[in-house]
Amino acid sequence: MSVAVAELATRSRVHYLNESYGIKSWLLTTDHKRIGLLYLVSITFMFFIAAVAALLIRIQLLEPNGAIVQPETYNRLFSIHGIIMVWFFLIPSIPAVLGNFLIPMMIGARDVAFPKLNLLSWYIYIIGAFFELYVVIYGGVDTGWTFYTPYSSTYANGHVFAAAAGIFIVGFSSIITGLNFIVTIHKMRAPGMTWFRLPLFIWAMYATSIILVLATPDLAMTLGLMAAERFLGVGIFNPALGGDPVLFQHLFWFYSHPAVYIMVLPAMGVVTELIAAYSRHRVYGYGFVAFSSFGIALLGFLVWGHHMFVSGQSVYAGMIFSALSFLVAIPSGIKVFNWTATLYKGSNSYDAPMLYALGFIGLFVIGGLTGLFLASLSTDVQVHDTYFVIAHFHYIMVGGAVTAYMGGLHYWWPKITGRLYPDKWARLAALIIFVGFNVTFFPQYVLGYMGMPRRYPIYPPQFQWLNVASSAGATILGIGYLIPFVYLIWSMRYGPEAGPNPWHVKGLEWQTPSPPPRENFEETPIVTEEAYAYPTRPRGSARV
């Protein structure tokens, strides 16, 4: 079918993108699909700002005594990079973009439980983002994304209050999203959609929502207390006035550790969907994968002290947190085994989303294993606050979460836009990203182990070649991320029409046209089969 006829066919059908036009129809929408797209545009914008900060950091680190930026400025660069990437990109990424778009569709509902609250959550995100952009424009903040006291509350000179306000505000966006998802998943499933017929992405999002709801309010209070101390000059966390700075760290990490599971659980949910789809296989051990999401959510709340082993925290508490941190690796491991078993003897095809999913598994395993180094009290003393930690969390958050986000974006792109992207470019970009990522971050493990501290703008000369390699990798990675930006936008106008189910996979979201109508389904679906009900096929038969 020629492109023109395809456009005509898409145009003649009414769907969520063309059912109304104009800026008001987008800014006042309560359609979860449009809200997902509003988030997509917003977080992509914030991503680029934080990526520029990262670029400047890597340029500074090309030379051991590089003077691209002043040390003060360097502090502000890594702070704003962390703040924006964590709160304004990663945490909303899969939940607010893919979760908003897909959850109602996957459960056979017409929308989320509270569509107006959903729109409000996006506006709250935007207000928070404005505070943070104000901080970026007016000189930044230099406390690190962690805002440790008493530096942040008493001595820091940047825009601490505005930065904390932006994060406080955007936290409510997260809370509302989580609340909406919990109620939606409980109360709006289509007839026949029992809990154990749900796609595993829904289980992962439900577990994520529990974390969002339980952890985020604590962050709000922690930042509030820090701001009160700064504003009133009182001594909540200031030892000179009887306060305990480690208390701040307890309150901060009680949120921030579960926060990393907010970032990785949805990614695992996406990966499960991708593996099932591209191996045309039921997920091996559905129950294990479902419950491991809850295991991660629960255990993730019990381990926060592993960020504080060298802070002055008591050794006994340290031992408890270390033991619990080892435990939390188990449910993650369970998922990896289940993915591998699903792939085994599957009818595997290696389209771009599958490449991202496979990349996730490898990079997440490396990142996760290095987490165990950090969970052990003694090795952590050596590598705490070094590049080893930085490499560890970037493997999980970039090699893991961002990779899965890219995979999911590609996989569901035809559903969201009704268009197919060019697969060859997509696979090329996935490979470039994978190579660039490893060249950027693997050297950082070595650097950290050899003792290069984090958050320093200069380093001993013997570390230079690894830093140069890392910066070179960052360039490759940057190019890798720009390529999809180009072809995905291109595909919205020139890509071939996708049809309802271009990948020929199971799932309620694929039973409706692409792009979907406003109410998602012409009639409420009635679910009669298990999730991933692919036919089991004899060994050696060809892919459908």
Partner: protein
């Protein structure tokens, strides 16, 4: 799921109200006795009882079995995790012997009881 249409009789509300007032007066009165550590224990027991009365009868948790109870139990459990696990740090720091020269700084943290 069926909507809960239970209508709670006024006398249950009245009974709960009276119990809450009695307990409020009790906790205030007991505070004027000098019972050492028991002041705190009794006050917390009374507070928890009052909270349960409000949750079960005013908020209908007694009548909405299942999900409602799971939800507020989760809140209590998580709050407990936050307080208890943070406390294990603060209150076991002194268990580890510290060098003699650090002793003056420790005095700041010791309370007079």
């Amino acid at each position: 799921m069926k909507a809960d249409a239970h209508i709670v009789p006024v006398k249950i509300y009245l009974g709960t109200f009276v119990a809450l007032v009695v307990l409020a007066l009790a906790t205030t009165g007991i505070a004027y006795l000098n019972l050492g550590i028991w002041n705190t224990v009794i006050a917390l027991v009374i507070a928890v009882t009052k909270a349960l009365l409000v949750i079960l009868f005013f908020m209908h948790a007694y009548y909405n079995k299942g999900l409602t109870r799971v939800v507020f139990s989760v809140a209590i459990i998580w709050l407990t995790i936050l307080i208890v696990l943070s406390s294990t740090d603060v209150f076991t720091r002194s268990w580890t012997p510290v060098p003699r020269s650090w002793a003056p700084d420790i005095a700041l943290h010791q309370s007079h009881k």
